[in-house]
């Protein structure tokens, strides 16, 4: 696979996305509240947050589709407020729900996007070849897009999004619903591009996708609530996690919610997940507390928090119920 960057006129930057005190207000509602972030060139960066946390608003600003109220953001070296057109020419965008024309052939979709992104005629043939090779679709050019398996469509959509060799790409839940094998292949491809210097900005609700990112930012109420690698974030969780097998579960949750030193209790399948300040100390206490209250206790064990546990513990402020569409 040939490099997707290198011939680009843009000067080299260590940081492909630089966000400084970025603010967006809609009336008196502050959707994005002084966000600061730097994403390095060649990084796969995940942007997570509940519905209504300000994620989509931020992405729209970064893509040059929405003017910030105040603060600055530079994407691929261009200011999103003052040079939105240059920003748009230097990014690729792909979404799970987006975008391929299902009733067109593979090759027709590629040509269409090449036209939309103004790929110069002199480069067209080479870029089409590159996409077919990258997406492993050689020999399949004349298949109707609708008939492709999910994983192939995903790779074709990615190929179309990077036809114009953008230094920065935005992916929105790129592999939701795709089978795990295709998903793993897709992320291999993404990591390969990143290694060649493309910066990848991923938004997702799915922790399975978040695990593939080098670093993650958790957005809550318009601000950055946590920032780090997946394993750093797992360590950043408030408290430790216990798995508690007991019966009846519903009663146990209610009892534990009012127990001393319990941060959170939730049903998880046939067991409970309990957040406590110190797991080792809590194990005998929880066992005793539950049996004192007439609950039959089975296994109680410390478990590693998942990214989802961290996400919930750091962002569980009530949903404002709104999704701000610009």
């Amino acid at each position: 696979m040939r490099s997707a960057v290198g011939r680009h006129p843009m000067p080299e930057h260590d940081n492909s996305v630089v966000i400084e005190n970025l603010v967006k207000r809609f009336g008196d509602f502050v959707a994005v509240d002084r966000i600061n972030l730097e994403v390095r060139k060649g990084e796969v960066f995940g942007f997570l947050g509940p519905n209504g946390a300000g994620k989509s608003t931020t992405i729209r600003m970064l893509c040059g589709l929405l003017r910030p109220t105040s603060g600055r953001a530079r994407v691929a070296g261009y200011d999103v407020g003052r040079e939105p057109e240059s920003v748009r020419q230097n990014i690729g965008y792909m979404s799970q729900r987006f975008s391929l024309y299902n009733d067109l052939k593979v090759i027709e979709n590629i040509r269409l996007f090449a036209g939309l992104y103004s790929v110069p005629a002199s480069l067209l043939k080479e870029r089409i070849e590159w996409v077919l090779e990258m997406a492993n679709l050689k020999g399949q050019e004349h298949l109707i897009t609708a008939t492709l398996p999910g994983g192939w469509k995903q790779r074709l959509a990615l190929g179309c999004a990077v036809l114009h060799q953008p230094p920065v790409i935005f992916l929105d839940e790129p592999t939701s619903g795709v089978d795990p094998i295709s998903r793993r292949q897709f992320w291999d491809l993404i990591h390969h591009m990143a290694e060649e210097g493309v910066t990848v900005f991923v938004t997702t609700h799915y922790m399975e996708e978040a695990e593939y990112c080098n670093r993650l930012a958790l957005i809550s109420r318009g601000a950055v609530a946590a920032l780090g690698t997946p394993s750093e974030l797992k360590k950043a969780m408030k408290g430790e996690l216990l798995l508690v097998e007991c019966e009846p579960l519903g009663e146990a949750v209610e009892i534990l919610q009012s127990a001393p030193d319990v941060i959170d209790a939730a049903v998880f399948g046939r067991a409970l997940h309990l957040v406590v300040p110190d797991a080792t100390a809590a194990i005998p206490q929880v066992k005793k507390y539950l049996s004192d209250h007439g609950v039959t206790v089975g296994l109680v064990d410390k478990i590693h928090p998942s990214l989802e546990d961290v996400f919930v513990s750091l962002t569980s402020t009530p949903d404002s119920g709104k999704e701000w569409e610009a």
Binding site: G52, G177, D179, A266
Partner: protein, 315 residues
């Protein structure tokens, strides 16, 4: 601890073909009262088609489906009386408020006013939506819309609930609210069949049918499923996951190596005993790594192991 389970839903050799595609292929399973049963698999696994057949809105080509002891093909009206089906796009009226939507569905199902008030107050409370009763459905976030759909689908106290990918596009916090409502319902003896494309969501179900291309791969509790892998999983954190993978690629006994954002996920025979060997190997090759630890296998590991990774691009 449990009484003898009672089957609320029985799928027996259900089969459905569209043109030359067999969407559902001799699928059999049963769902008990008081249990959350997950139909889990990627897009195209046959989840929606199965739910439509069980809801009595699409006849199977072969096999039978019984809901609340009624055959859905021969007695659809009787089966439907006990059933609530929430399709992927549930019909909320965007220009009605939350309360008005609930009232509409309550009237449709003949729920009286007292019962409606009592039931909707409790469900909205569990959904974390009590302050939003007067908001237009159009002004709700995606997660809230899904939760409102669930409240409407549950207003008439159905005994059996079919939910088609209700949490797609819903953030993890709202997803937890959603599951809290489901757990509360099953404790009242309701049977819930839920489909999801997210394999990690399978862990929340009591039992799971793992589907691939219309066929049943496995059906069991999440814990038993993970035990079926018969291999262990090691997680290695490293600043250079690609070099790490290249180094381990030729090692005997490793069946899969998956790059993650800050390391490598390794599926290997008898993992724990091999940690020292891997550590020595990586030190020898001067590949930086932080920790190697054994982690619990995921349902995804099982799925990939069962389906196999051969002929990747021509699946």
């Amino acid at each position: 601890m449990h009484e003898k389970p009672q089957s609320a839903i029985i799928a027996d050799e259900l089969t459905k073909s569209f043109a030359d595609v067999r969407a559902v292929d001799h699928l059999s399973f049963d769902v008990h009262a008081g249990e959350i049963f997950g139909l889990v698999g990627p897009d195209g696994a046959g989840k929606t088609t199965t739910l439509r057949m069980l809801a009595g809105i699409m006849p199977p080509n072969e096999g039978t489906a019984r809901v609340a002891d009624f055959d859905v093909v021969h007695d659809p009206e009787k089966a439907k009386r006990h059933l609530s089906y929430m399709p992927q796009r549930f019909g909320l009226y965007e220009d009605l408020t939350v309360d008005e939507n609930i009232r509409f569905y309550a009237d449709l199902f003949g729920v009286n006013r007292t019962e409606r008030e009592e039931r909707s107050t409790r469900l909205l409370q569990a959904a974390g939506m009590r302050e939003f009763r007067r908001r237009l459905a159009a002004k709700l976030s995606g997660g809230m819309k899904q939760k409102l759909g669930l409240v409407c689908a549950l207003i008439h106290r159905p005994r059996i609930i079919l939910l088609d990918e209700p949490t797609t596009g819903v953030d993890p916090v709202s997803r937890r609210d959603f599951w809290r409502i489901l757990y509360e319902l099953v404790s009242e003896g309701v049977a819930i069949l839920i489909s999801t494309a997210y394999l990690d969501e399978a862990e929340r179900c009591h039992r799971v049918a793992l589907l691939h291309q219309g066929r049943l791969l496995f059906c069991d509790t999440p814990n038993n499923l993970k035990a079926k892998l018969g291999k262990s999983v090691l997680s290695i954190t490293s600043s250079e996951p690609r070099r790490l993978r290249a180094e381990l690629e030729s090692v005997v006994g490793i069946s899969s190596l998956v790059l993650t954002g800050d390391g490598l996920h390794v599926v290997v025979d008898d993992g724990a005993s091999r940690i020292p060997e891997f550590e020595a190997r990586l030190k020898n090759a001067s590949i930086p790594f932080n920790t190697i630890q054994q982690v619990t296998p995921t349902i995804e590991d099982l799925f990939v192991n069962a389906v196999g990774s051969g002929a990747p691009s021509h699946a």
